[in-house]
Symmetry: D2
Subunit: 365 residues, 4 copies
């Protein structure tokens, strides 16, 4: 049953890329436990995603068991991360964009790495793969994203925790909404996909769920609020994905970050319109970065640990250019190209949409 002493000792790198989330440290812990303790390899933790390989000298820390021992319950990533700076068009201080891919590739080789484990979402994995193809990097990918928009895996690291936090927020808003007879709007993350909103919305008992995949009207939202009032329910819980657009098609949350909208985000827009239409007291909560942090849920920790071990096992078998996936409580792997290709939005004909309809939740037309 022992899997020790397979093949030559290796030196592998690991980096976390893109927005942080819960469970990244659990992956790092698993990789180090499996690679160092079980296989007897060396693991270098690359700092700040690809920036650590771009730096001269490369920025890294040699990871030992003792360092990762307490990481299971720690949120975030001990290696740091960044979601800025495409290395193929890297923003220079003078404002110009510069292809710095060769510096990263050189960093990989300078460290004498046999393989690299890259933990990221689809964007990060696409960049890492391009670097790998260009520079002979033996890459294994691990999917993480609270957005859960990578189609080939049932579960990306961080999603379950983010849904838990959003659901807990709805649980709390439910009580205060009912006490004050208010409409409560919760704006959650998820980028272009409504996975967090629809999962937390159903689990948390929202009455209205708005996701980018399904158009809505303010009139229908107001109708729902009034309909509930007629049944003696003087409050309404609305959960909305950050990328839901206004009636005029504006992505308020994004434009607001650029300073161009009069609204702080789509939640604020909706509150304004509801008050304008029917004058019901409405409050907005933007959950924000709380969704990314915190101790990972047991499921995220389980999947993260299984992914970390599986990624090391792939390297032991010299299988590269693949990403691990979670399907039916088993880890499999697919070519990274396939992983990148299958973007997954909420399926308008899928189970969760049907469930929302069956529950009488308004989620668009």
């Amino acid at each position: 049953m022992s899997i020790k002493n397979m093949g030559e000792p290796k030196r592998i790198g690991i980096l976390t890329s893109g927005g942080d989330c819960s469970g990244l440290n659990a992956v790092i812990r698993a990789v180090v436990n499996c690679a160092v303790d079980t296989y007897g390899w060396e693991v270098l933790g690359i700092r700040q995603a690809t920036l650590g390989l771009m730096a001269r000298p490369p920025q890294f820390t040699k990871l030992e068991i003792d360092q990762v021992d307490s990481l299971l319950t720690a949120g975030g990533t001990m290696l740091g991360t960044t979601n800025k700076g495409d290395p193929f068009a890297f923003p220079m201080t003078d404002g110009s964009l510069c292809d710095r891919s060769e510096e990263i590739i050189a960093g990989y080789h300078e460290l004498g790495l046999d393989a690299l484990i890259g933990i990221g979402g689809d964007g990060s994995l696409a960049i890492l793969r391009r670097l790998a193809q260009q520079g002979g990097i033996n890459l294994v990918g691990i999917p993480k994203t609270i957005d859960n928009d990578i189609g080939v895996t049932e579960h990306a690291i961080g999603f379950d925790t983010a849904v838990n936090i959003a659901t807990e927020a709805l649980d709390r808003l439910h009580f205060t909404a009912a006490s004050h007879s208010r409409v409560m709007i919760l704006e959650v993350m998820g980028r272009d996909a409504g996975h967090i909103a629809i999962a937390a919305g159903i689990a948390g008992g929202a009455n209205v769920i708005l996701i980018p995949e399904i158009p809505y009207t303010v009139e229908h939202i107001c109708h729902k609020i009034k309909e509930r009032q007629e049944k003696g329910k003087n409050y309404c819980l609305i959960i909305v994905s950050e990328a839901v657009r206004t009636h005029d098609g504006e992505n308020v949350t994004i434009t607001n970050r650029l300073g161009q909208s009069r609204y702080g985000g789509i939640g604020e827009y909706l509150a304004d319109k509801i008050i304008e239409h029917i004058g019901v007291e409405t409050r907005v909560t933007v959950l924000g970065h709380i969704q990314r942090g915190g101790t990972a849920s047991p499921l995220d920790r389980l999947v993260a640990t299984a992914f970390g071990v599986a990624a090391v096992n792939l390297i032991a078998e010299d299988k590269y250019d693949r990403m691990v996936t979670w399907q039916n409580r088993q880890v499999l792997s697919v070519p990274i190209t396939e992983a990148i290709a299958q973007y997954s939005a909420v399926d308008p004909n899928g189970t969760l949409v049907k469930t929302a309809h069956g529950m009488g939740i308004y989620l668009g037309d």
Copy 2:
């Protein structure tokens, strides 16, 4: 040991007034258990604070044990509440203000109440007392406020839960701040008092705590951020009370609600100034109504239950015009006038300020 069969059977009313918080339902449950089951009295739950007594017929529900059985873990208040509408200057639909105090007093007598338990903050209790004095209402007060600004009680219902939720938010932001080398600002409630901010700030490991009681400068905040960077800590956690003012003395959160500020709140103002001064990536989370909701903490439930029983016991002894208090894990009571008079802000020479200083936290000058 039995306390049953004391005196004549009574009919008492109970109402919750002002902003909702966790633990109100636990009080209601305790009052019903003690009054109905132990004393054999009748309890009428008045709906929507004093609005329920103002309405004709008065809006209430007769409360039985079975109804309150599951209330221990329920946030909010099953009776509803409102923090609008001073009955002595009640906003009428035509915009005028009208003294409607006599209607409320008439409602109390119309219901044949022997006494009224009013759960509220200092504002609500002041109004209830004025009504009681004017109209012969036998009033017992129970302090609740997440702001914990009632000086005569160590603990008002809802405060512990609010601190827990704010601390949990800091715990989560800590990880994502460190992962992305960011400044994270958490804006919390508390009205004019910094109790939530300083308690959660210390418990949650904030590096900067800003409260209305102590002036600060943006320069010193930025100095703290830089000082941490020099020690290799590329992130900073800031917690700020909603009522903290800008450098120019503006209460941004309040003015913003009135639509007059360019900032969404003090957190946004600070982020803007930090970026302007030192260009460090900064994110803001406004915790909002999440702080009010949710299952009450065991301490809030314990105090709420003890307050509910003690209030009923006061009525059994015909002791009125008093508010229950929590001191050294015991319930006492004081005249409501005394309770209203002692507003409690954070003591600049108190333990928590000293603790923050000892921990090297910046909390103003």
Copy 3:
């Protein structure tokens, strides 16, 4: 998009059977919301599993939306349940066994039910199906079991919450074990399957995981403890499934319930043997019924809600003798016979076993 007004109005029954778990109330809530509000049907909640149909008159409550509104976060089952009394061999007060199946079938018809939703594990579903076949009951099954041993569904209701609670217990024991240099043993439920133990063990960082599917030796456990001590880790976390047997093949937990073992359970046996072999201070925690209770996790609530809606939709389509399943975040359905046939133990060659090996966890030989 409306699914209202499909077919004739129906009257359906719902019952929960077998050991309780978190998420049952969320199913009941979903069934009532979908059947009553969306389809306009009537829903009768049968009390105490099949006992409610066996009683004369049948024991039930007509379920309305208002009754189930707050059930989303309530653990257990509002209908009550029992895991005693096979109706085909029902224990009578005189000690004899009696076939009372016809009484249950008569109860179903007496209530004029068009269909019955039965929520249970494989044992309960097998009994319900036999009743359905015998007596013309239109049955739809929903899988629930913290043991997660129903092979055709990725997820049975209650499992995720049970794993969360067991993981949280490990998190807590971890700290106290390390502080006192102790071996800590956590005994968890799961009947004949090790799913809870292996999932929580990996997610919670156990060093030894013992499941019924894989044999172990006390010597190897002690070796693991010593090996850790040599690396400076003076503590060890062991998680063990209740059905793991002693070295002599005794199922201590079961025999103990019958009063025949000198040990309170397998955890106590292991502690005794570890102390006997190597004299290391060892403590046991038997998690017990805490695993069954509590607010369901968001995932359990999501699946429960999706199952409830899907079961009602199956009835709307007059599809019976089927059980809903969860696969890749979608609800499907299979014949109940198929569901009962596929018992799922932990796969000794599956992902979780490989993960445990890769992490250096001892989980048997």
Copy 4:
């Protein structure tokens, strides 16, 4: 506002003694932050309570800010602890008892310590004080004990977290008890004091609370169970302190540890008696070491941090032989002798007992 540069630089020691609990690491973190960063002193963390000073060379670790940075949310104590081995009668390997106090005192002086911060319960603090008096140790005490039995402080570190965990267990048992119509008994810690049981019992809605301070009869417990059944409540929640004795005055939990009782603990005894008397299905959960572990509650973290800073401030003022206390949200200090002298059991005439009576809870006669 700066409190830096007060007096001469010092070298201080810190140790944790007795049973571990949540919040110890938060004290260590606070002491290091305040002493090292604010005062510029040196802090030596002594390993395994006084055993670290008894060892030659003394076992310690020099504590730096970076080491304690992540301790705020970590349960247990990074220094290790022990509740065995009174140094004045230390158990030697040959079974004899030996006074080893001088070795500990010598260890203190060998390390060149100016002062020692000892974190412990009343037993540990009594021993530490005796050592201090005998050997010229400048001692400052910090109270910690989940039992909360130190009379001079409203709050000892670890108590709030233990109550939270016990309350959460009751919340969970409540649902499963109601679903299965069972009596559920929860056995909690607390040694000779019933503080955890009565606080968690009230906060968690127990129907029967048994504490060592108040005698009970099995008949009255059974009467309560029957009384509830008559009101349609077919379940009952009982919380019992570990030191509650049997009807015959036996302390089952203690004798059981010594292998002399037929019961695993008082919970098991009660279950046996209830079944014997009235035949109601009864289950027992022994919460065990879970109560000690886990992330400290915000209140425990707040108090722990305030205590750590205050202890360092006392040393800065050369005030020794004192223990810090928490009173009305402020830290004070008292002579250690006074702290040891005031043992605090649950007051049979105090608020919590009155509250339990008012709620109709049976807690003895």
